[in-house]
Structures are given as structure tokens and as C-alpha cells.
């Protein structure tokens, strides 16, 4: 019986692709606008997103990078400061995994630095996966229940999810800074 349970839990073990999926020859940058003249919608999400989005290892690595690369200095533990809050349902440039990666990679004109050449694409995806935990948009079994360091905040696993605003699926909402 116990053995059976152990086996069953083994069946559902989280998969992690250590080497990563091969990159497409030409990666199409994520769209950050929700306005499509004459109608339309944002293209499908970059297939790499799925690999990182709800993966405990990548989220944990993203959390480590979030502090080490000083993201925490501007965005705090999700509430923001020099940079906007990341724990609410407002996403100026989109809250989808590939859109967050695009913001990290390209930077944004009102003060978000471009991290291209400073972080690898894998690290950017890991960061994006962690950033989504700040708005509790990640299953609780994947998100870390506590910080790696001494901390003044409640675990995000106790928070209610803040999905990107429903009327605006790509989530490019909120005032431009």
C-alpha cells in the first residue's frame, strides 16, 4: 500500500528539462500591445513558457536571481518602489511569461533596464516564472512557501491569485508611466 502510494506520487513527479528545449531559429518577440487595427489578437505564447512557468526548480532559481540581480531593490517583494508593483493585476507591458521575458530582455523606456547580455535567456525565463508567483498566479505546490533569506513579508503562497485583468487577457493595462 505504502509502496503503491510512493509509486503513484512518482508518476506525477514534476518534469524538468535540464538542457532546455532547442531555441527556434528566429524567435518572434512577444507583442505588448492589445490594440490590433481592425481586430485580431496576440499570437500564441512562446512554447518555451510552458517549460518554466509552473516548475518549482525554475521558480526557485528565478527567486534567487530576483534578489541577486537587484530586481528586489526596485520592485520590492512585489509591491514596487522605483519600479512598478508586480503583485497586482496591472501589467503595463503584459503579464504573460513571454511578455515578461521581453520586458526583461529589451528593457522599457521609462526606467526598466535592458538585461540582454547580462542574463541568459534561461535566467530570464526563470525570473519571469518567479515574477508570476508574486501575484500568486502559480500553483502552490510549485511556488516557494518562504524566501531564501530573512524576510519581513508573508509567503505569497498564502495570497489570493491576482490574474491579469480579465477584460484584457494579454494584460497590457494600467497607466503608462
Amino acid at each position: 500500500m505504502i509502496l503503491g502510494l510512493a509509486l503513484l506520487s512518482g508518476c506525477d513527479r514534476e518534469a524538468r528539462e535540464v538542457r532546455g528545449k532547442p531555441l527556434p531559429e528566429t524567435a518572434v518577440a512577444a507583442q505588448t500591445s492589445t490594440l490590433f487595427p481592425g481586430g485580431g489578437s496576440a499570437g500564441p505564447e512562446d512554447p518555451r513558457a510552458e517549460m518554466y512557468a509552473e516548475n518549482a526548480y525554475h521558480i526557485s532559481e528565478g527567486g534567487r536571481l530576483y534578489r541577486q540581480m537587484n530586481c528586489v531593490g526596485c520592485h520590492a517583494n512585489g509591491g514596487g518602489g522605483m519600479g512598478p508593483a508586480l503583485m497586482d493585476d496591472q501589467w503595463r507591458y503584459g503579464g504573460r511569461m513571454d511578455q515578461i521575458v521581453a520586458s526583461i530582455d529589451q528593457g522599457r523606456p521609462n526606467g526598466m533596464p535592458s538585461w540582454r547580455g547580462k542574463l541568459t535567456p534561461t535566467q530570464m525565463w526563470q525570473l519571469a516564472a518567479y515574477v508570476r508567483t508574486l501575484s500568486a498566479n502559480v500553483p502552490k505546490d510549485a511556488a516557494p512557501s518562504r524566501n531564501d533569506t530573512m524576510s519581513n513579508i508573508y509567503p505569497r503562497t498564502l495570497a489570493e491569485p491576482e490574474p491579469p485583468s480579465a477584460s484584457d487577457p494579454a494584460g497590457a493595462k494600467g497607466p503608462a508611466r
Binding site: 540581480m69 508593483a85 526606467g111 513579508i153
Partner: protein, 590 residues
């Protein structure tokens, strides 16, 4: 022994009746307001007395002017002749309003077009603390590190000089001081590992005359044979290098983002230096010279005359950038040139401004972060229970990081002999952690959470008697006070609150005489001037923001109490009490 000495000094301190603070400014009060502090002595005292305790209750709006911006408006307006000048937060517009015409319409607008990216490296909202006027020109700083000179009549740019680099995290937010034909400016960036400096530019050409760094070898700090600090702790060769771990001084802060005063007789400028970086103190063992202290420098050469460190090896982000008010005061029966400072670390300092000696240092609010100031050695006595260290959250530290008082300046009235201090009553939990230096990004290393101190009120307005070394009266305010103070010869004192009340109090007893509800919270500096029609006016900018108001100005989420470097926790209710919106309010008697 120490106590006896203290008592003796205490008994002997008395305000010199003929206080000559104004004499050190620009002569008699001509009804103008040409620099944010009103005069070189930084009194923020107006000699105009048409508006007094009896009639201030009748104050009415004369005109208003919208800046069109939603960020924090910390600046003082200037009035020169018949023109009012307003410098805004980013994008740092300079507006000129014509006071000769009804409603004071816009005369011109100067747009310095600062780089948008600079918004991302400004630690605590994208504020600007004001401009300064001299010889037909308005001088001010832009967020992306330019000092500009603009023709006061036409609004044409005369010169612009680049002084820093936003890619190193450097910004400029302070108001320049013009003295001895030089424009004195400093940089911000204490949360980004930016090495601080004060720079003197030639007011005519914009060329750099001298630059004094706040860290590093003596030749960089402009320390030479004239440097005679009063206390032994501030003496020695190259302390700006030796009191740091190797190379750490290069990214050690000490930024000059606050106030400068000037004594034309001594030809000395006085200014404070900001916190050392990073906030995590374990990464910078040593006294971290010359951060969190005050310099006196020769205005002509920039050479340091003396220095005193308020917070050696700062543990709490207690920047030393607050204003210093220069007056003459009787100490032990003899008039002495002193400077008064309501310091961030919670002590009100009376210092001899010729020598740098601390004459008195008394807490003007709840302090447990330190146990006092040793007047013999000059040294702040740390409280072992509140020493912050990596891997530990230290709770209940008072005052919090913004200090007992932050940048927002106090006013001094020679009529009452009191200093009017708008300040705070905040405590904090402080969790230090390792910070990585990546140029142009935050270099902090602390999870901070602030909250109201004992009593539950987050703001206090204190009238302090520097001679008696005690508060004469105080007003408790619910929200932190982030506006400057103004006092007039009508014995009325003005300040604003973060939920938008602009208040007038009786300067002698603190009684509320008049108040007006502005459209947004007030964090600006009120002024008083005589308009071309001969009437006394009071003016102030509303527009909430700044570090304390970042939760509104930046649209932050206060569910994370560490947002805005820990201030969001203490102002979580602010978004429900006020909204942004820069607006100048100008008042006059009917």
C-alpha cells in the same frame, strides 16, 4: 562629569535677543523669495507681517496653477520681481507665471527634456526640491544629471552642464545654492552605490570650478592643510579610504541631495552627506567616512574646513542631508555663531559653525536606535539591542530609515526664537541581507518595514527651543509630515499634510488658526512674498509623492510592506486618502 558639564551648558544656553539670522541672508527682506530656504542662513522666515495671527483666518485663494503632473511636488516656488517660478518633478519643467496680470497666467515654460530612463534610477519618486535665482538667471537640476541656467526674463537656456551618469544610478534632485558666483550642486543615488559629491559651477559659464567627493583619498575629498575637525574621530589621513573595506568607498554613497547653507562672513558653505551604501552594514565595516556627516568648506576653493559625523558606520539609512539653520546664539553668556540641525538620527544639534563643536544634541522625538551623543568625543552611542546585522531581522527600531525628520526643512523665527520642525514618528523592522553591486541598480541589502511609533501618530510638528533644549509645543499628525515649514513676522507658521490640509498655526503656541484642503497631499515648501500689488501672499505646491508618498505617486501595492524601501507599510492607507496632481495654490487676504 559628563552630566555635570551638560547641565552647566544647559543652564547657560539662552537665545541672544538680537538674533541676526537675517543679516546673513541677502540683506533686508525685499518681499522676494529667491532661494528655497529664503536666505543663506536657511531660516525660511519672512519679514512680511500683513498676514498675522489675527487675520490669517480670512486667507483666500488668489490664484492656482496646475503643473499637469502626477508625481511628488517637493519644490519651493520662487518669486523674483513680478514673476513666480515653479520647477516640477520629472520631466523638470520650469514655469514662469506673470504676477502683474490677473490670475498670474503662464509667461513661459522651459522644458529641459530629461532622459525618460532616469526615472528608473531615482530611488524615491522623481522629485525636484527647487531652483535658485541669481543675477537674472534661474538655476536648477534635472533628474538625468544636468545643471541648467535659464534666463529669468525670457526662459531661454543660457548653459547646461552634464554632471553625472544615469547608467551608474546617479540622479540629481536637490535645489542648488548660488554663492560667491558659483552654483553649488550635489548628486543623489545613495540607494544605487553612487559615490557622492558636491560640485561648484561657475554661475556665468557653467564650467566646473571644483568638485569635492564624499569618499576616497583626501585629494578627492578636498581635504588639505586647512582641515581642522573638532573631534579626534574625524582626524587622520585618507579616512575616506581607510574607514572602508578595500575599494568599497568607490561605491559607498555619501550623496549630497539635501540642503546647503552659506555664511558670507566666514566664506564657508555647510552641507550634509547621505547614507553609506549598501544599507546592509556588515558589507562595510568601519566608520565609512565621510558619509552621514556635515562638511564646512571654503566656498572659493572647496577645501574642507571641518567635518563632523552624525552617524559613524550608519546602521539605519540615517542620511545626514538635512538643512542647517545659521544663527548667532548666546552660549555660556557669549554670542556664538552656531548652526541648528534637526538631524535624521533623532537629535537636535546645536553646533559651533566656526569649529564644528557639538554644543548640544538632544532627542526631539522617540529615539531608541542610539543611546545619545557623547559630547566629549562627539560620537553617537549605539544601542546594542538595535544594531542591524545580516541574517537577522531587528525589530522596533526608532526612528525608522527616513529618520525623525527627512529632507523637508524646518523654519526659524528670530521673533519667537523657536525652530519649527515638520517631522515623523516612525519605527521599523530591519532585515539586512547581502547586496550585490551592479552599476545602475539598487545597492541596498535590507528588507525594511516601517510603522507608526509610540502613540500611533506618524507625523509631528514640533516647536523647538534651541536655547532651552526642549520642545515648547508639538502637534501630532496622523500621517507622516513630508512638507517644509514657513514662519512669518506675523507670527504665523505654515505647513501641509499628506492628505492635503494646508495649515496656519500661531507660532507662539501652536493653535490652529486656518486651514485649507488642497486637491492632493502637500509635500512642498510654502513661501511668502509681496506681490506687485503690495500685498503679502502665501504660496505652496500640492502634489503628493516623494518617498513617503511613493505608494500613491508610483501606484505601488502596499500589501507588500517592504515596497518603496519599506515606506509603503507605514502609508498603506494613503491611496484611500489622497490622489496625485501638482497644483500651485496662492493665498492672499481679501
Amino acid at each position: 562629569m559628563r552630566w555635570r558639564m551638560r547641565a552647566c551648558v544647559m543652564a547657560a544656553l539662552a537665545i541672544w535677543p538680537a538674533m541676526q539670522a537675517r543679516a546673513q541672508g541677502n540683506g533686508t527682506d525685499d518681499g522676494q523669495w529667491v532661494m528655497p530656504a529664503h536666505d543663506y542662513a536657511s531660516t525660511r522666515f519672512s519679514r512680511l507681517d500683513q498676514i498675522n495671527r489675527g487675520n490669517v483666518g480670512q486667507l483666500k485663494i488668489a490664484f492656482t496653477f496646475s503643473t499637469g503632473l502626477l508625481k511628488g511636488h517637493e519644490a519651493a516656488p520662487l518669486v523674483v520681481g513680478s514673476t513666480m517660478y515653479i520647477v516640477t518633478p520629472f520631466p523638470n519643467y520650469l514655469y514662469a507665471l506673470d504676477l502683474n496680470r490677473p490670475g498670474a497666467p503662464l509667461k513661459w515654460k522651459y522644458d529641459p527634456k530629461p532622459a525618460a530612463a532616469s526615472q528608473g534610477v531615482a530611488c524615491c519618486d522623481v522629485v525636484n526640491r527647487g531652483a535658485a535665482y541669481a543675477n537674472g538667471r534661474i538655476f536648477f537640476n534635472t533628474l538625468d544629471d544636468y545643471t541648467v541656467a535659464v534666463d529669468a526674463e525670457t526662459g531661454a537656456e543660457v548653459w547646461r552642464t552634464k554632471l553625472g551618469d544615469i547608467n551608474l544610478g546617479e540622479t540629481m534632485t536637490m535645489a542648488p545654492l548660488v554663492a560667491d558666483g558659483k552654483v553649488l550642486v550635489g548628486n543623489s543615488g545613495g540607494e544605487m552605490g553612487v559615490r557622492g559629491w558636491l560640485t561648484a559651477l561657475d554661475a556665468g559659464t557653467g564650467k566646473i570650478v571644483w568638485r569635492a567627493w564624499s569618499t576616497g583619498p583626501d585629494k578627492d575629498v578636498l581635504i588639505g592643510p586647512d582641515f581642522k575637525p573638532y573631534y579626534a574621530m574625524d582626524r587622520g589621513k585618507d579616512l575616506g579610504v581607510k574607514t572602508w573595506p578595500p575599494e568599497a568607498w568607490k561605491i559607498g554613497g555619501g550623496n549630497v541631495w539635501g540642503w546647503i547653507s552659506y555664511d558670507p562672513e566666514l566664506k564657508l558653505v555647510y552641507y550634509g552627506t547621505g547614507n553609506p551604501g549598501p544599507w546592509n552594514p556588515d558589507q562595510r565595516p568601519g566608520d565609512n567616512k565621510w558619509t552621514a556627516g556635515i562638511f564646512a568648506r571654503d566656498v572659493t576653493t572647496g577645501q574642507a574646513r571641518w567635518y563632523y559625523q552624525f552617524s559613524p558606520h550608519d546602521l539605519f539609512d540615517h542620511d545626514g542631508i538635512n538643512e542647517q539653520i545659521l544663527i548667532t546664539m548666546k552660549v555660556n553668556g557669549k554670542p556664538r555663531k552656531v548652526l541648528l540641525r534637526a538631524e535624521r538620527n533623532g537629535y537636535f544639534y546645536v553646533m559651533d559653525r566656526v569649529t564644528g563643536q557639538v554644543i548640544a544634541a538632544d532627542p526631539y522625538g522617540n529615539v531608541n536606535a542610539s543611546l545619545g551623543v557623547d559630547l566629549k568625543t562627539g560620537r553617537l552611542i549605539p544601542n546594542p539591542d538595535k544594531v542591524t546585522t545580516q541574517g537577522k531581522v531587528v525589530r522596533g527600531i526608532c526612528p525608522a530609515s527616513p529618520g525623525m525628520k527627512d529632507w523637508n526643512p524646518a523654519a526659524f523665527s528670530p521673533r519667537t526664537g523657536l525652530v519649527y520642525i515638520p517631522h515623523m514618528n516612525l519605527c521599523m523592522d530591519y532585515g539586512a541581507m547581502e547586496a550585490n553591486y551592479i552599476a545602475g541598480t539598487p545597492y541596498v541589502g535590507a528588507d525594511v518595514k516601517m510603522y507608526a511609533g509610540p502613540g500611533g501618530n506618524r507625523g509631528v510638528f514640533t516647536a523647538w527651543d534651541p536655547g532651552a533644549r526642549k520642545a515648547v509645543w508639538e502637534i501630532k499628525e496622523d500621517l507622516p509630515l513630508w512638507s517644509g515649514a514657513l514662519v512669518t513676522a506675523g507670527d504665523v507658521v505654515f505647513y501641509g499634510t499628506m492628505d492635503g490640509w494646508f495649515k496656519a498655526l500661531d507660532a507662539t503656541n501652536g493653535k490652529l488658526l486656518w486651514q485649507f484642503k488642497a486637491g492632493s497631499g502637500i509635500i512642498g515648501q510654502p513661501i511668502s512674498y509681496r506681490a506687485p500689488d503690495g500685498k503679502q501672499h502665501i504660496a505652496v505646491l500640492a502634489g503628493v509623492g516623494g518617498w513617503a508618498g511613493a505608494v500613491v505617486a508610483g501606484g505601488l501595492d502596499p500589501r507588500d510592506p517592504t515596497a518603496a524601501l519599506g515606506f509603503a507599510g507605514a502609508t498603506a492607507d494613503l491611496p484611500g486618502k489622497t490622489t496625485g496632481g501638482g497644483m500651485l495654490y496662492d493665498f492672499v487676504l481679501p
